[in-house]
Structures are given as C-alpha cells and as structure tokens.
C-alpha cells in the first residue's frame, strides 16, 4: 500500500509553514487542496516511472511557503496605526479652547464665562495645548491615512485616522451650533434637548460619512 504523503514529516512541515501565511477557514480549505495536490504530484511521478525520493522532489518543485498569502495579506500580522491613535487622542484637547473662543464671540453673548477659563492651569497649559493639538491631530490623521494606504494591509486603523483628521472641524461646527442654540433658546425642556442631541449626532454621522466617501485613501 502506498504510504500517504500526509504522514511524511516534510509534508506536514510544509503545510504548517503555509498555514502560518494564510488565515481562518480559508486556510483549512486551501491546505486540504494543497495536501491533495502533493499526493497527486507524487503519484504522477510514480506513474511516470520516477523512483527515489518522490516527496522531496515534489516539494522542491513547489512554491515555497513564503510565497503563499501575497495576494491577501494575513490579517493577524496587521498592526494598528500609532499615528492614527495619537491623532484621535489629541482631538478632545481642543474642546475647552474651542468653547472658550466661541464664548468670546457674538455667539457667546449672554453666556457667563466660567471661572475655569481664568485659572492658571487653563491659561498656561490647556490653552496652548488646545491650540496646537487640533493642528497636530489633522497632520497625524492625514499621515496615518497615507501610511495605511501604502502598507498594503499591514497597517490598519483608517477609521481612527479619519477621526483625527476630521475631528477638529466637527468639534468647531458642533460647538458653534450648541452655543447658538443655547443663546437663542436658553431654557429648554429636556425632551426637546434630547431630541436636539439626537439630531446633532445624526448630522455629525452624515457629515462624517459624506466627507469620508469623498476622500481617497489609496
């Protein structure tokens, strides 16, 4: 009885090496067909009258395990974009400064300026950081998107990068809307407030979606 190729340790090692290059259920399917291929190749050589180490000859002729998966990069080797993560973390730092700026404009007329904005912590620490942070966030977000596009699947996190890129603009737009709303209707029943909040979130989602669809990411 012909020894099945699957018990040959070299075949097992080859298939194990190929498995590391593939992913999920598709890996199992591909490996099953590949194992059958090796067996068929050995049988074909035997039928042609070849002798000797047929398994070794077949494996030597086949693609090396490293050649597998180049059409589809294995997802478990993808890393998160550090630049995109940093961009997202910087976005909230702009919030106090944007709010302060809007309260100083005609939109903030009638609103009381919180004492926090007079504190040394805000004036000497949060204010400069809040001015620079959105600019850096936009730069990092844009760089991260280019990095992800060029990585061919090795780097992921496009959503984070986009939030970093678009976050500052969305914050400004939202704060303008909120200040204008509260200045024109200062006492508001909570159901209306909740409804307004839902509408605002919906508008943000639409704006995000529209802008994202128009931006090429490579």
């Amino acid at each position: 009885m012909t020894q099945t190729t699957s018990v040959d340790p070299r075949v097992r090692d080859y298939l194990a090496a190929v498995r590391r290059r593939l992913r999920g259920l598709e890996a199992d399917e591909t490996l099953a067909v590949l194992e059958s291929h090796i067996h068929e190749a050995v049988e074909a050589r035997r039928a042609a009258g070849e002798q000797g180490d047929l398994v070794g000859a077949v494996l030597a002729d086949m693609a090396s395990p490293e050649e597998y998966g180049y059409l589809e990069q294995p997802r478990d080797s993808a890393r998160l974009s550090v630049l995109g993560l940093m961009a997202v973390c910087l976005v909230p730092l702009a919030l106090p400064v944007v709010w302060h700026a809007l309260l100083l404009t005609p939109l903030g007329e009638g609103s009381e300026l919180p004492a926090f904005f007079e504190s040394p912590v805000y004036r000497f620490l949060l204010l400069p950081i809040g001015v620079i942070a959105p600019l850096v966030a936009m730069l990092l977000g844009s760089t991260a998107l280019h990095e992800i596009a060029a990585s061919n699947g090795r780097v992921e996190g496009a959503t984070l990068a986009r939030i970093g890129l678009l976050g500052p603009q969305l914050i400004v737009a939202n704060v303008i809307l909120l200040v204008a709303y509260f200045n024109t209707a200062p006492s508001v029943a909570w159901p209306m407030l909740l409804g307004g909040l839902v509408v605002l979130i919906g508008l943000n989602a639409c704006a995000f979606r529209i802008v994202l669809r128009s931006r090429p990411t490579g």
């Binding site: 009885m1 012909t2 099945t4 190729t5 699957s6 190929v18 593939l22 598709e26 399917e29 591909t30 099953a32 067909v33 590949l34 194992e35 059958s36 291929h37 067996h39 068929e40 190749a41 049988e43 074909a44 086949m62 693609a63 090396s64 050649e67 597998y68 998966g69 180049y70 059409l71 589809e72």
Partner: protein, 112 residues
C-alpha cells in the same frame, strides 16, 4: 518590467482559473498543471490554490469531494451559475480592454 509583469499576472490568475473550468469540473492538481503548461502565465500552487478557495467562498465555484483509498480525498471544482456569469462578464471586459489597448498601440486616439 518584472514588477509590471508580476502585477499583471496577479490580476489574471482568477480569470485563468475560471477559464480552465469552463470545459467542465477538474481537480486542483490538474488545474495547476494546465495553467503551468502556459509558461507566460507562470502560476504556482501558491497563487492558484488561494484563488480557488476564494472563488469557492464567493460562490463562483462548487466542490465535489471524492474519497481516495491511497491518499487525501480528491476535490473537484466546477463553475456555478454565478461563476459562469462571472467569467462571461470577465470575457466582455477583457474584449473591451484588448480593443482599448490595441487602439492605444495603433495610436488611433479613438475613445472606447
């Protein structure tokens, strides 16, 4: 030149695999052997088998497993109805592409 050829071949593997199966079902080893007989396409197992798996997952191929007494079961691949439509669409696009490139090469400037 090598880089361009590699990219071109990458895009053709799926079309070539579907074309091999147009004439009827076939098993993996035979599909690879048929494609490897065409030197200009230069495929290996590492390109064909992942594509076969993906085409099956996407519904373009169906698989019939035949047990074997001397080794692993043999898997026969065949086009599904969706796969037949897919390869027909690829044929149409290929013809358009061929005509467009010919026009460019002949420098006729005709829009396609």
């Amino acid at each position: 030149m090598d880089g361009w050829v590699t990219q071109l071949r990458k895009g053709l593997v799926e079309y070539c695999v579907l074309n091999v199966l147009r004439s009827g079902e076939n098993y993996g080893f035979e599909i690879v052997v048929r494609l490897q007989s065409l030197d200009v396409i230069a495929v290996t197992e590492s390109t064909v088998y992942p594509v076969l798996t993906r085409l099956k997952k996407d519904g373009y191929l169906k698989v019939r497993t035949v047990p074997s007494t001397s080794g692993p079961p043999r898997r026969y691949f065949a086009l599904t109805r969706t796969g037949e439509r897919r390869v027909a669409e690829m044929d149409d696009y290929w013809d358009l592409l061929d005509e467009a490139v010919r026009n460019l090469r002949n420098n006729t400037g005709e829009r396609t």
